[in-house]
Amino acid sequence: MDESFWGSLRAPIGQIAGALVVAALVGAFGGGALFERVFGVAPSSFVRESLAVSAACFFAFLLTTYRILRGEKPIDVHIPPSWNLFLSAALVILVGFLIGTTVFR
């Protein structure tokens, strides 16, 4: 199998990551519209981001439950080594953002 970063996108983890991105977009825009209708408040960008992550997590929950109930392995969260560089950088930025907004805001 192609072990490069682009090659790994065809692996199950790449397909799952793609599905999670789609779920996040649906959460941000579809969820945002639903949020406005239910609560009568226009969603800010922070609200949309939270809805996006919430939708992605809920999709991961449904997918994992579905696979387990079918007797299959849960979603394979093994990260390909070729992703380490991107993930390391993203993780450091995310943690810095979380600490920064929690402590310094």
Binding site: F58, P74, T102, V103
Partner: protein, 180 residues
């Protein structure tokens, strides 16, 4: 007479791995117990305005989080040479944990969305929900001003960031299959 085994690098890694994983479980149990106890014995503050509101931002707290995160990352190198196979029971619990984490994370981020929009509970005039960061800051201020002078906060930050760095970004050595 029984000969003592000479310590090896692999043996040291195995021992370090065991010690870290036992200590983390004990620390999480203690921290969880303390937090539960504090929830029962302390009164919730009506708001987070303290005379010493300069308690935040707290640069040393930020530094502690960063150091703990990288400590967890680096200590990820301590892995046993021979990985043990998961038992069926262990596999069942890990699947339950995985499903629970996704469901709870989904609920938490939905709460964050509602909190960020500052929606009043029970209609106009009701108590407003706040973002999770507000409650974190409130807990830190409350701990510093009235509970432990910040000891619980330091412990919680160190433990949380150590676990995050160790589990999500552990510097695990890549075990390559031997060439035949």
């Amino acid at each position: 007479m029984k000969r003592l085994k000479r310590p090896t690098l692999a043996g040291t890694a195995q021992a370090g791995h065991t010690v870290i994983h036992v200590l983390v479980v004990i620390a999480v149990a203690i921290a969880g117990g303390l937090l539960g106890w504090l929830t029962l014995v302390t009164r919730n503050p009506l708001d987070c305005v303290y005379p010493g509101a300069e308690a935040l931002p707290d640069p040393p707290l930020f530094l502690l989080g960063v150091v703990s995160f990288f400590a967890g990352h680096i200590l990820g190198r301590l892995v046993p040479e021979e990985r043990t196979r998961a038992t069926p029971r262990s596999r069942k619990w890990s699947r339950l944990a995985m499903v629970s984490v996704f469901l709870v994370a989904s609920a938490v981020f939905f709460f964050e969305a509602v909190g960020t929009a500052e929606i009043a509970v029970g209609g106009p005039g009701g108590a407003k929900l706040e973002p999770i960061t507000y409650y974190v800051r409130c807990a830190i201020l409350h701990d510093k001003a009235q509970i432990s002078g910040g000891v619980f906060t330091w412990g919680a930050i160190a433990l949380t960031f150590f676990i995050a760095g160790h589990w999500f970004w552990g510097d695990r050595p890549v075990i390559r299959p031997r060439a035949t």
